[in-house]
């Protein structure tokens, strides 16, 4: 469902992604691991369409459509979701209002009528349960004054309500204690299914104990240097990224 071919991207003229190839099929969960500065978040932001990232080569197809030509909101309406590494605080916009606006934007894009108020409320109640979110968070402004854990839970909650077909989780585990991590992982796992794909970006192997991926890729210096099964994550946990850092030659051999 997501095909990334030879993706090159620059930020402020500096090349960060140097030829990424990645294919994710429906029902698959892929993990991308890598050290700081390897390009993980750049990849997430390029997929979601954030300004300031210039794609200089290559393409990204979403169900065969050229994703890179779409505005961020169109990508979202097509069924793409980005769980932000740093969810943004939006004072003055209530969480529930925001969520309803998002749901209705997607429905409008699909040519469907606005969501029925009662149906929406039922869905919200059910999904709140999933991420063990307190009802009071709905009335508060989006992410304003939320703790780190609450922000990440709110991301998963939004995802659960919007029910995208493909989700990119950008370091959703960073800054979470183990309990919050479990809640977030349970939320993601509950949404996994044969029609839905996930790209889980993380620095740490820990998250992958809870969200067990089908495939693991190592991103280093703007390239995927190694791909494997879930056991690759464990190997990285033991050996660290130093392997790639110190001996790029060996890393290339390992990737081959």
């Amino acid at each position: 469902m997501l095909e990334i071919r030879n993706l090159h991207a620059t930020v402020d003229g500096r090349e960060i992604l140097k030829g990424i190839d990645l294919v994710i099929h429906p029902g698959e969960t892929h993990a991308i691991m890598g050290p700081n500065g390897s390009g993980k978040s750049t990849l997430a932001n390029v997929i979601a369409g954030r300004e300031g990232y210039e794609v200089t080569e290559g393409e990204v197809l979403f169900d065969g459509k050229n994703l890179l030509e779409m505005a961020p909101e169109v990508r979202a309406c097509e069924g793409l979701f980005l769980a932000f590494q740093y969810p943004v605080e939006i004072p003055g916009v209530a969480n529930l209002y925001f969520l309803k606006a998002a749901v209705n934007a997607v429905r409008k894009y699909r040519g469907e009528p606005s969501v029925d108020a009662m149906d929406f409320w039922d869905l919200v109640q059910e999904r709140m349960e999933l991420v063990k979110m307190d009802e009071s968070m709905l009335k508060r402004s989006v992410n304003e004054g939320f703790s780190g854990g609450e922000k990440k839970r709110n991301e998963v909650f939004q995802m659960a309500v919007l029910q995208p077909r493909f989700a990119v989780m950008d370091e959703t585990d960073s800054g979470l204690d183990i309990d919050a991590l479990r809640v977030v992982a349970d939320g993601v796992n509950a949404l996994r299914g044969p029609e839905r794909g996930f790209l889980v970006i993380t620095h740490y192997q820990r998250l992958l104990d809870y969200i067990v991926p089908d495939h693991v890729h190592v991103l280093f210096n703007g390239r995927i240097v190694r791909s494997g099964g879930k056991e690759l994550a464990l190997e990285l946990e033991e050996q660290g990224y130093a392997l790639y850092n110190e001996e790029p030659g060996r890393a290339r051999r390992a990737a081959a």
Binding site: A48, G49, R50, E51, A71, P72, E73, R75, A76, C77, F81, L82, F84, P87, V88, E89, I90, P91, G92, V93, F98, A101, A102, A105, V106, Y109, S141, V142, Q158, L162
Partner: protein, 435 residues
């Protein structure tokens, strides 16, 4: 190099002679008018060399040969409503329009009437109050108003009278380069309470220079809303004087959406112990509009509190000015005075000017002020878009979030909702069609 200053004829003197020729009113009032005219003559037409008018471009207004208004009829359908029972007084071109007004039953000795009519029936209630408040002494247009006001509203609530029904005052001007000088005189005696909504509107090009005088006795409570939605070519140069007695509460909401140049000067004097004043101002301006608040809050007695929040949302080449002074007299210990000015720029050509000032002559007070100006947060914009919300809608949502901080302080629900929807329309259109 020396030059001889041209002798500037005060064009208003001639008009004044014609204006007063056929007026029959008490000598005291006629004297006030002459004093107003003399004050205007000594202040002169504002120039940009004067600090208080440095940022106001009155050139376009000075070019206009301002006319005395003719009687006009307007269709009731174009007037705003509050969607709740209200005492309604409508003024067209500064003159009372009984057919567009509706007065409901009033408690006891309370009086709500056209100022012109009340001056005939109850001069003894008006003379002690009209033009008696300090403030606006340097405001030339307030002086012109005192010289030329024809009508307006008179609200008199005796001791402990609570007007449950809001008072809705509509001032509509019909253009054709007229100058109108509406007047509001509101007297709340000790313990009286009122809710007032003043709406300034019109079509075409005109000058509206209203003056409102608000007197609050001890323990009086006023909720005052001034909604300026003048026509896009109009000039609005208004003044508000407030004097508060002991433990009185003034909640003053000022909304400025219309006009090519719209300025309100407000002087509030907290003249009794424990008086509290909340000032909530919002400007929305686009194209080449300019919105301006000049505010002076003077704490004269101890234990007073004042809170000012002034915000502006500026698009296109719009400009805003916030000039806010907090003055605390030596005697006014334990004053708690706050002032905040926040400006949101929606275009790179928009400009907000902030001039917050403190003069604190007492040594045991809490005073604070702050001012920020910035663009929409691009991260917030992307966050909304990444959830499927189109860029324009996301912008609108963020602007609303900014403005709602002001609008949400308005407790009168139908008015708050109408303003929110007017805000949305204006943001969506970029400019609003005239009625």
């Amino acid at each position: 190099m020396s030059s001889v200053a041209p002798v500037v004829q005060n064009p208003f003197r001639q008009q004044f002679a014609a204006f007063t020729a056929d007026r029959r009113e008490p000598d005291a009032i006629a004297r006030l008018r002459r004093e107003g005219l003399d004050r205007f003559a000594s202040l002169g037409w504002p120039t940009r060399q004067q600090e208080a008018w440095r940022l106001a471009d009155l050139g376009a207004l000075a070019q206009i040969d301002l006319q005395r208004p003719a009687d006009a009829l307007v269709d009731a359908g174009i007037l705003p409503t509050l969607d709740l029972p209200a005492h309604r007084l409508t003024f067209v071109n500064g003159r009372f329009a009984p057919g567009l007004s509706r007065l409901r039953e009033l408690p006891g000795q309370a009086l709500i009437a056209s100022l012109g009519q009340a001056l005939l029936t109850h001069p003894e209630r008006i003379e002690p109050h009209l033009e008696r408040l300090p403030g606006l002494s340097q405001h030339p247009f307030a002086a012109l108003n005192t010289a030329f006001w024809e009508d307006g509203a008179f609200v008199y609530l005796p001791r402990t009278t609570v007007a449950e029904t809001p008072l809705h005052l509509i001032f509509h001007a019909t253009g054709d380069d007229i100058a109108v000088y509406p007047r509001l005189l509101l007297v709340l005696e000790d313990g009286a309470q009122a809710t007032v909504v003043v709406e300034y509107r019109g079509k075409g090009r005109y000058l509206n220079a209203p003056v409102a005088e608000l007197q609050l006795g001890a323990g009086a409570v006023l909720h005052y809303h001034q909604v300026q939605e003048e026509a896009s070519q109009a000039f609005h140069l208004g003044g508000v004087r407030v004097r508060q007695g002991r433990d009185s509460q003034a909640n003053l909401h000022l909304v400025s959406f219309g006009g090519q140049l719209a300025r309100t000067d407000l002087d509030a004097l907290l003249d009794g112990e424990g008086a509290s004043c909340v000032l909530n101002g919002l400007i929305l301006a686009h194209d080449r509009q300019m919105g301006d608040y000049h505010v002076r809050v003077e704490h004269a007695q101890p234990h007073g509190s004042s809170e000012q929040l002034f915000k502006s949302v500026l698009d296109g080449q719009a400009r805003s000015v916030f000039d806010g002074m907090i003055h605390v007299r030596p005697h006014a210990q334990k004053t708690d005075a706050r002032q905040s000015n926040r400006n949101l720029l929606l275009s790179k050509q928009a400009r907000a000017n902030a001039n917050p000032r403190l003069e604190i002559l007492a040594d045991d007070v809490k005073c604070g002020h702050g001012s920020t100006t910035g663009f929409l947060n691009p991260d917030a914009l992307f966050y909304l878009r990444a959830r499927g919300i189109p860029a324009e809608q996301a912008r609108t949502l963020l602007v609303h979030a900014f403005a709602n901080d002001s609008l949400n302080r308005i407790q009168l629900t139908p008015l708050r909702e109408r303003l929110a929807s007017s805000l949305a329309d204006r943001l969506a259109l970029g400019n609003i069609e005239e009625q």
